[in-house]
Each structure stands twice: as C-alpha cells, then as structure tokens.
C-alpha cells in the first residue's frame, strides 16, 4: 500500500482556511470553566492567527515529521512536569495537551487524513469546553459552534474531492448562509426531543446553581444565618425560585414566602433549634404528598433552585405540599426540607384563606437576648404591657430613628446591640432580629423568620421570579394568643416591592434570567426523574384526550337524533354545493357559441363522445367525414363561432339566422 500523496501548498492553505475558525472558537469557554488560563488561550489564538496568515499569503506552515516528533517528546516532558509538580488539575492538563495537539496538527498538515485528525482534536476541545460549561451563556457557545462547525464540515466535505487547491469561489460558495441557518434550526428542533429522551442512568453531573458562594449559602436555607452574609446575599440577583398561583393570590399573601425559623441567637449568628418540635400527638402543619380533602383557595406552583439545606419556600396558609420528585420532610420547627443532592425541584402548595400564622412552636428564649437589648426594650416599652402596643412602639421607633441599609457599619461587639445603641442602621435581618429579641425580652413569644418577599413579573406567562434581592426577614410573634402573626418591623424602604414591573430593557433582562432559570432547571439539572415526569405528563395528556373523546362520543350519542343528523347532513351538502358554485348565477352563452355547442352535440350523437380537447376545426372535419353532405354547413357554423369567440367579430342577425338555418339542416342530416 502506498502512502497518500502529500497535499500541495494551495490545498494546505485551503484546509487551514477552513479549520482555523473552528479552532479559534472551540476552546474559548475553557477560560471561564477553569479548563485553561487566559495566557494559554492567548498564545493559542495568536499562533492560530499566524498560521492563518501564513496560509493566506500562500505559504502555509509545514513542519516536518521529525520536528513534530521532537516537539511531541518535549511536550510529553512538560506534561509530566505539569501533572506531577505544578498539579494544575486533570482538566487543565488535558486542555493544554489538546491545545498543543491542535496547533501541532494544523502546523503540519500534509495529507487530508491529517486534516481529519486535526478536526478530531478540535472536536475533543469543544467537547471539553461543552462538558465543563454550566452557565446559561453556554447556549450561545453551542449556537456559535454549531454555525462554525456546520460551515467547517461542509467545506471539508468539498475539499475531500479536490486534489489541488480549489478556486477561492468554491469555498466562498459553500454552504449558503440561508441553508446553514435552516440546517441549524432543523438540527435544534431535532436535538431538543433527543436531548430529553436520551436515557439518563445517573444523576446530573452538574446541578444548578453549583456556583453558590459562601455568603449565599450561609444566608438562606441554612441552619445558621449570619447577619453579614445576609446583606451580601441580598445584593445578588440570583434566581431563587419561580412561582405561579392559580387562581392568583393577593400579592401581600402570595409573595411572602416563609422558609426557616430561628430561635437561638449568639453574637450575630442565628441558629435554628430543631429540637423544638410538635408536642406528642400534635397534628402536622402540612399534609405532605397529597392534597387535603378541602378545596384550596389557591394552588401555588414553585420551581425552586435548591440551596443550602434545601428548605422549601412556602406561602402563609399552606396546608398541603406535593413535591414533584421525591419527598419533603417536615422539621420539628415547622420547616419543610428536601434533599440537597438535586439542583432544583418543583412542588405545589395548597393555600387556604386562613389568616397568616406561622407553624411550629419554637420561640426565642429570654436567656438568649443580650442584656443591652433587654435594657433597650425596657427603656422603650417599659410603660406598656399589651404585646400589640409594645410591637407598635418598637416599629415606630425603628421608623423614626433607624435607617435601612445593606451596608451597615462594621459592628463592635454584638451586632444587634451595636445596631440598637450605636449605628441605628442595618438591613431587614437587623430590624427583625432586634424586634424579635425585644419582644422576647418583654415576654412575648417571638422568633425570627427568613424567607422572601415580592418578586418580578416574569416574561413568560404569569409566573413570578423571586431573586436573592427579594430575600427578607421578619418576625413571628404571638401577640394575642391566636398564633404566630407576621410582623414586619423593617422600615418601608427596606421591604422589597411586592411585585416589580419593568421597562422593556428590564423585561428583556428578565427574559434572559428566565432562560437562565430554564437552562439551570430543565437542561443542566435534567435527570431521569424529569424524564419520568415527562412520560407521566404525556400519559396524563393522552388519558385526558381519550377521556374527552369518550365524553364527546357519549355526548354525540345522547344529543344526535336521526333528525339532527339529517339536518347536519343537509347543511353539509348545502355548504358543498355553495363551495362548488352550483348556485352561482348562470351566464348565458353567446349565440355563436350555442350553435357550436349544438354542433358538437350532434357530432357526439353520431360518432360517440367527443373529448373537450378536440378543437373547432377538427370538429368541422370530423363532421364532414361522418356526413359528407353536411361539410359546408358544419364549416360555416365553426367559422362563425371562431370569428365570434376568438376574432371578436360579433355576428350580425342575418348571420345568426343563417347559422340557425344551417343547424336545422344539420339536425335533419344527422
């Protein structure tokens, strides 16, 4: 077997021209995914540009095999050093190796098979980039890569049949932009169902959002809440959840979502006390997993990105919760928790009309309240004994003397004491913490609650998107013995707006965020449980359709008597006749045409059916064949008809009477 012939410089340049765009794009996401550093990518891209330039001026680089072998051995040594000594990580080492190989292959193209090998390396690079990318912007990368890859493959397919460099117009002509776009749209349309149908044997490799920073995970859905971390979390715009209610709830009820309850405080850190559970025999606040027998006032559907300990955000008045996959556990303090191994979950909550009351029994023990806070509370409310009045005083005090800020001054000592006595500035958790502890110090059963308030109207449907900006803290206190009422001591400036509406730009931004949420929820975190859900949805859809069909059949049997069917049939027939134009006004034929039609009819009576395609002169000839004596009359009738219809000559009354006379004679002859 002989080795394939080496490519000419022109063909090598053409291959470079085709491969370089894909090579330039393929590894870019690795910068953001930690697959490689900016410096490595910069060196790689600059080298690519140089290779492309060499190809463009007609002198493509061609490194000999010997030089490539030397370079390979040297790189192997570097790889060992990088892996053993620098310990940059497997992904980074592999990425560097792929970048080196890609450059080496592109710099030493000699045969078409080597171009294919270079393509394979580029594919592996893009695979590394795609598999390590988790941000929604990866979709842009996929789209751009699809465009470039399609053009690259199409041009390589053309080059495969050239043995010499093709003219420039060849590569310029293929593929056309419209076809590329159509192919990518069709490919995306096919990809979507395939992506969702391909079997999942493992849980998702990357769950969303796994980029959660420490402050974020410490601020919400945690057993501990750090006052500083809470403000950091509130500055984030990360999507916490998306919810929709059917029927819609009044905003103030729907948009306050309770998440966790805190009863133990120590030097700026709140801690849950899960030991405080329901009393023996006490009924659970939630009937988990199934709808309660009573009809809910509203059903709230929530898509939640699971953070921290995986506590569910629930509206007040929730009495039943259904989790789409798996189950939630009710903590003794009335908090619902799901496993944290999943990226996101969907659940439904049945909400009643009952006034908002917090579930669980835990309260802040007076012993946890710092002395300074206790003294402050007595100074402020010592003359009051009614819990409601005490709270009003506290709330009024906050409104008059305190300021809301997400960047409170750095505390010296206990943050709440510092907040009350010195800074008088803080965010919602400072206000809620201080109020709860002051209430507790005055003997009112109170506790701190975290959750969210408000949200953004979503771009898609009537959903509401809740972000980290909507995180909030408030107080639950038993003021009158009717249960834990919701008290929000934060000044109005610090309470997130109930429902934000936005400009077009903001809406577009919201759309982007919804796409991000969908990407996180439906693509990155898609797993076998979701597949089961899809199958279930399809099954339920089919069942519902079948039920409707059966119902319609029954309805038809019950409703359609023979007379109804007859009326329907008659209506349909009438409609058909109208469509066919049966009742359209009849336009009378011109006299010459009438004579010609009569002539055709006479001929068909004599000779049998005459096709409509037989032209007038042929009719005259056929007539003469059949009845030689009628030759002259037939010819005259045809002549008048032809002159009238095709020549625009209107026959005179004398001509018409002559035609009539001739027709009469013809009838006799026939």
């Amino acid at each position: 077997m002989t080795a394939a012939k080496e490519m000419s410089a022109g063909l090598r340049a053409a291959y470079l021209r085709v491969l370089v765009p894909a090579a330039a794009l393929a590894p870019l996401p690795l910068i953001w995914t930690g697959g490689t550093g900016v410096r490595s990518i910069a060196i790689y891209e600059v080298t690519l540009v140089w290779l492309a330039w060499r190809g463009r001026i007609g002198r493509p680089l061609r490194i000999s095999n010997a030089a490539m072998n030397v370079a390979g051995v040297l790189y192997l040594g570097w790889l060992v050093f990088e892996t053993a000594t620098l310990r940059v990580g497997l992904l980074r080492s592999v990425s560097h190796l792929l970048l080196f190989t890609a450059l080496a292959k592109l710099a030493s193209l000699k045969r078409p098979s080597e171009a294919r090998m270079a393509l394979l390396v580029l594919f592996l690079l893009s695979l590394a980039a795609a598999s390590s990318s988790t941000h929604v912007s990866s979709l842009l990368y996929f789209a751009a890569m699809a465009w470039v890859a399609f053009r690259t493959l199409a041009r390589l397919a053309v080059l495969a049949d050239f043995e010499e460099a093709p003219p420039r117009r060849v590569l310029d002509a293929v593929p056309t932009g419209g076809l590329t776009a159509a192919a990518i749209v069709a490919g995306a349309a096919f990809s979507a169902p395939l992506f969702f149908l391909l079997p999942r044997l493992h849980g998702p490799f990357a769950v969303s959002p796994f980029r959660a920073d420490d402050a974020f995970s410490r601020a919400i859905a945690s057993d501990r809440v750090d006052l500083d971390a809470f403000s950091a979390a509130k500055r984030s715009d990360r999507v916490i959840l998306r919810m929709s209610a059917s029927p819609a709830l009044p905003a103030e009820e729907e948009l306050r979502l309770r998440e966790a309850v805190f009863t133990e405080y120590d030097d700026g850190v709140w801690v849950r006390d899960p030991r405080v559970g329901p009393r023996r025999g006490e009924r659970s606040a939630f009937s988990l997993g199934a709808s309660a027998a009573e009809r809910p006032h509203s059903v709230v559907s929530v898509d939640l990105n699971v953070y921290g300990q995986g506590f569910l955000f629930l509206p007040y008045g929730t009495y039943a919760v259904r989790v789409e996959k798996g189950r939630a556990s009710e903590m003794p303090d009335g908090v619902l928790q799901v496993g944290t191994g999943r990226g996101s979950i969907r659940y439904e909550a049945d909400v009643s009309r009952a006034p908002a009351r917090g579930s669980g029994r835990g309260v802040i023990p007076v012993s946890d309240v710092p002395d300074e806070v206790r003294q402050y509370a007595y100074r402020l409310t010592g003359d009051l004994s009614n819990p409601t009045e005490i709270y009003r005083r506290i709330e009024e005090n906050f409104r008059k003397d305190f300021i809301y800020t997400l960047e409170p001054p750095k505390p010296r000592g206990d943050p709440i004491v510092h907040f009350l006595t010195r800074s008088k500035a803080g965010h919602c958790e400072y206000f809620a913490s201080a109020a709860a502890m002051m209430l507790a110090s005055r003997g009112v059963r109170a506790r701190l609650v975290t959750g969210s308030y408000g949200g953004e109207a979503g771009m898609l449907g009537s959903s509401i998107v809740v972000r980290a900006q909507n995180l909030h803290a408030w107080v639950e206190a038993d003021l009158d013995g009717t249960g834990f009422a919701v008290l929000d001591p934060t000044p109005p400036a610090g309470i997130p707006p109930a429902l934000s509406t936005y400009s077009l730009l903001s809406r577009l931004s919201a759309l982007g965020r919804e796409i991000e949420f969908l990407y996180d929820r439906r693509i990155l975190g898609y797993d076998s449980g979701d597949q089961v859900g899809v199958v279930e949805a399809v099954r339920e859809g089919l069942e519902s359709t079948a039920g409707r069909l059966v119902g319609f059949g029954r309805f038809a049997r019950d409703s359609f008597s023979a007379s109804t069917a007859g009326i329907l049939l008659a209506t349909a027939l009438l409609a058909w006749l109208l469509v066919r134009g049966v009742f359209a006004p009849h336009r009378p034929l011109a006299p010459a045409t009438r004579a010609y039609v009569a002539l055709r009819r006479l001929l068909s009576r004599r000779k049998g059916p005459v096709p409509a395609s037989v032209p007038p002169q042929e009719i005259a000839r056929l007539f003469a064949e059949e009845v030689p004596a009628a030759r002259e009359d037939a010819a005259a009738v045809v002549a008048v008809y032809a002159a009238s219809t095709f020549g625009g000559v209107r026959p005179t009354p004398e001509t018409l009477s002559d035609v009539t006379r001739r027709l009469r004679r013809l009838r006799r002859l026939v």
Binding site: R116, L120, F123, S126, L127, A130, S131, S132, S133, T134, S138, F142, A146, F150, L153, A154, L156, A157, V158, A160, D161, F162, E163, P166, R169, V170, A173, V174, P175, T176, G178, L179, A183, A186, G187, A188, A189, F190, S191, A192, L194, F195, L198, P199, R200, L201, H202, G203, P204, F205, A206, I523, L524, G525, Y526, D527
Partner: protein, 328 residues
Amino acid sequence: MNRLIPDWEIRITNFGLGYILLCLVVAIAATNTGNNGLYLVLAAMLAAMVVSGVLSRRNVRGVLCELETVGEVVATRPAWLRLRFENRLRTGTAQSLFFLHESLPGPLWIDPLRPGEKRELVVEGRFPRRGVFRDADAGLLSRFPIGLFRKYRKASLSREIVVYPLPEVTPIPPVPPEDSRGGRPHPRQRGGGPDIRTLREFTPGDDLRDLHWKQSARMRRWIVREREAERDRVVFLVIDNALPSPVDSAALARFESAVARCAGQALLLLSRGAEVGFLARGVKVSAQSGRAQRLRILEALARLEPVSPADAPAFPSLRKNDLCWMVS
C-alpha cells in the same frame, strides 16, 4: 411518484463512520457521567445526522443532469462534452456538486445552482476506449452537507455516445487494379472516367472538353459526351471478433489493436479514393467511398464486440472475387 429503483445512490463515507463512532463515544461518556453538556452534544450530533441525510438527499435529488457529446468522439483524443444541469427545487440552492465522468481528469466542480436555475457547460474530456455508451457512466456526486454520506445521481444521455477507435497508422499493401474490380457489376454512374456512357444535350456546368463537335454540328445543338464514373478499387477489411476467451486480457488487447489498425487502414484507403467495406462476424458494411463511408466504418468498429467462438455467427457472405484483407 417515487421510482422504485432510484437513479441515485447513497454511501456512507469514512468520515461518516468515524462520526458514528464518535457518537458512540460521546454517548458512553454522557451516560456514565450524567453530564448534560455531553447529552446536548450527543443530541446535536444525532440530529446533525438526520438533518444531513435529509439535506443531502434533497440536494442531489433535485438536480437534473444531462450529458451529450459535441461532434465526433475518438478514443483517447480530446472530445467536447456538453453538460446540462437544472435545479428543479423551488427552494434551496443545490451546492457542493461534482460531476463525475471517466472521460474527465477528475471530479468537475459545479458552482451552486439556484432554485430553478439551468446551466450548460461544455468541457473537454477524453474517452479512454472505443465503444458505445447508452447508459451514462456519469453523474453528480455530493458529500453535502457535512460529508457523512456520498450521494450519487446518475446523469442521463440525450443520445448514445459512440466513441470511435483511435486509428492506428499502418502501411497497406497496394491494390492491383485487376483485383479491385473483383467482378462486381459496373456501377454505371456518371463520372470522369475514360468510357463514354451516353451523349446528351449540353447543360450548364458540363465540361467544355466533353463537347461532341460532330454530333453538335449534325444536331445543330450543343451535344456532350457523358462519361462513366471511374471505377474505384474495392477492399473489404476483415476482423475476426471471435475470441477464444473474452476474459483473456492479452487477446482483448490484440483485438483492440486490430480494431485500431483496421480503422487506420480504412481511413487511409478512403483518403485515396478507394471503396472500402468492413466485415466481421455478424457485421457487414458494404463497400463504398466518401466521408459517409468513413463514419459508417468507424461506427461499426466502435460497436464491434468480441464474441465467443461457440456463439459466433459466420462472416457475412461476399460476392465472388471481392478483395478481403484480414486485419489482425
């Protein structure tokens, strides 16, 4: 209605096989890691196969290709081929098309054809061997869009292509005049020979040297001698196309060589004004002279096929004393 046996074919390319292998690799990686990024790539790769198949089929199927030759075609000599293409698709440009034919040095690139566009190209090609081509061994090839498949659509011929053998110049023995007569009946044609055929009245264009003065004087009109045509020499070139083994390449080469020599001798004789005929088993071209006879003999030689001795028909009969030259 779709044809049961389409005139286009599909073959997977090596690149396509590699692509399928890569799909398997990505599928294994995706399944084992649960990485939805890999699942996205896998879904896109599978979708690309489907889209590629549909686009490829449509791309080639929509293009009509017709081929015909311009003028005489002689084996191994440059010949003109007229190619007609028509994109019958209402939408979609047909692209990445190559025209293939054995007479061309390589695949011929066809610039993209817009919807409904008709294009005619005249290209130079060389047919490697003589023969008659009723079925176009030519067509359109495309790896469009991404090279997973090779789609081929056969071209149609507007008429059969007859490739004449390349005449091989060989010396021919002189033909004695007495042999050339061969006892054939005299053609009795007008001409410039020495024998007088008849006398007749002068008509414009007659050679004045043929005026018969005495008779003209007697008749008081211009009378000319009408001469008989000069008698041509008549030769039948004979090839025995019965080969002991049709698969014997050496014998076939000898046969082809004989055909080429026969063509060369026929052309040489005809150029000298001889009447030449051709004879093979089951084939006879009557002896005549002139340009038309040249084409008749070349065409007979182009169509001549070797036959096995068992099935070989006898040589057509000749008149007594017809001169035959066996070419071998």
